[in-house]
Symmetry: C2
């Protein structure tokens, strides 16, 4: 990368200004010199330094992607879809797994600001709300959120799935199978809260008794482990649930483990349904009913929102809400009694 605009200019017998104009297609240049310079660029295999360009106040064509944990397959999928769209538009993604740790978040944000990334995409939970608000309100750098926590008071672009609807659909479906006592295993997240809202609404609409003791919230760390414990509790309840709704696939899988240890057969003795439609749900035995999020569409839209802001093609802030879709497999069935 040692050949510069000067080399091109010299070899072509023009000034660097001319070369620059040709590269950026600005100003007016005669066809003749244009052709000549382009030939030289080709010959020298000249590639402009984006560092130097950036120093002139241009875009760096780099986006920071902050997610809780890249090793979590669902986030990896998000990241992949985001990367794809970014690549199409000529942007690169710097990956940042925050572990929802305040310090890691702060370090990453600070470093990426120093590197002058053009914008941030923040997925799911961002622990340091103050930092997030600062980023959105004070720093002038564009931000877009996906599957985000509640920042309804902030003017920020976002793409989310309608979790309320997802929760509603699942519950409605389970009710239609005849289940009346439906356990809910949640995690501490906005999405879970919304799904619970949907669950509750469906229950009430159906005229079924709404019992709060059927809703358990898990700690994040060993997801399946916590879910297993929670499910055990549910299964030991006096009127044990005939169905369990896991706020994500891992939680549902934990529930299945607990059920097995309890001597229950899925779905005969207990219906279980998850959320996210991860690979895991497909390879489970029996295959797990779940809810599919339009991940590809989410990735695409969030990148589009962000890059539009970066390139000043849009002033207004936008919130996009996409709809989830029920995926029925073999872990759920009509209540048998």
């Amino acid at each position: 990368m040692s050949i510069t605009i000067y080399d091109v200019a010299k070899k072509a017998g023009v000034s660097t200004a001319t070369v620059s104009k040709i590269i950026n297609n600005t100003g007016s240049i005669s066809e003749r010199t244009k052709k000549k310079v382009q030939a030289v660029m080709k010959e020298l295999q000249y590639q402009p330094s984006l560092i130097a360009t950036a120093l002139n106040g241009k875009c760096t064509y780099t986006i920071g992607l902050l997610i809780p944990d890249l090793a979590n397959p669902i986030f990896a999928e998000y990241a992949r879809c985001i990367e794809d769209r970014a690549q199409e538009l000529g942007f690169n993604i710097i990956m940042c797994s925050t572990d929802t740790d305040i310090e890691r978040e702060a370090k990453y944000v600070s470093l990426l600001k120093q590197k002058c990334v053009d914008g941030f995409i923040i997925a799911a939970k961002f622990e340091n709300v103050k930092l997030l608000k600062d980023l959105i309100k004070n720093d002038k750098i564009p931000v877009a959120l996906i599957a985000a926590q509640d920042v309804s008071e902030l003017p920020v672009d976002s793409v989310t799935v309608d979790d309320y609807l997802g929760g509603y659909q699942v519950t409605e479906y389970l009710l239609s199978l005849g289940h009346k006592r439906i356990g809910f295993i949640a995690e501490e997240a906005r999405s879970s809260k919304e799904r619970i809202r949907g669950y509750k609404q469906a229950i009430i609409e159906a005229g079924v008794e709404y019992d709060e003791s059927l809703i358990l919230v898990c700690k994040p760390k060993p997801t399946m482990g916590y879910a297993e414990v929670a499910a055990k509790k549910l299964l030991e309840l006096p009127g044990r649930p005939t169905a369990i709704f896991g706020a994500n696939d891992s939680l549902a899988i934990g529930a299945i483990w607990a059920a097995r240890k309890h001597g229950l057969t899925i779905p005969k003795d207990l219906s279980v349904i998850g959320f996210d439609n991860t690979v895991m749900s497909q390879i489970m035995e029996p295959p797990l009913s779940t809810v599919q999020q339009p991940i590809q569409e989410i990735g695409r839209q969030v990148v589009d929102l962000l890059t539009q802001k970066i390139e000043r093609k849009r002033k207004l802030t936008q919130r996009v809400v996409l709809l989830p879709e029920l995926v029925i497999r073999q872990s759920t069935m009509k209540i048998s009694k």
Copy 2:
């Protein structure tokens, strides 16, 4: 990010050179001015622009990570471990999923070179061998490989797992369970070839007949699908195998599907073992025996190798080989006949 070294210099009543020296801890500066300038930096919340620094020929503290597909959980895990170590050392990772597509590879490499990344980490398969060789030999930019295809003729740092040993261990284990006809479902990759070598060696050492028709190689795309087809073929063989070794977990899962459709129970009628110890292997029913790679250690070492080259702390090229470890679960058992 609009406050510059000039602002600091002015406010502190010194020259930018002095500020620069303080930032980089070079030259000699009196304690007094040092303190004063640092106070000003703090007050102004000054963060040096890494773009400007980079333009002076410094590191960009950015590494390009090229992997086939981030959405594949095993690569996502790699990426996460690499990201972690990089972050510890102050480097960021630009994620590039190549889909082992020549054009995508070329685009990414070209763009990252323009951005002056300090080095590349390339995982698994890189389709465009010419480009790879060029990168290593002609461009002066450091490269390190993990789980890579064979480039034994090139002087490049690499970290790999001893796939030969992995294949050997698995086969030895299956043989110890009394299996004599062991099917092998592979993919088109160096790692698979090595694992097959280990498999063959163990078979021969044990004095068991080596039958090439038991080895099938799958196309990559719908991994499990192909594996299922391959396994079906194996199970329809005259002397059908009593065990199947999948070169990765997905292939093993495909084999299990085929076995089920064939009316076989795992592991009673057929032992199945995978490779990689992905999440999937843990949630399968029955839990899948497999081979664990020391992913974290691989990530750590490859980043260390690369950054040492970047910071010129090491001249010599190094190849690190780590050892895999057998993980025995419930998908394998003593042959029952």
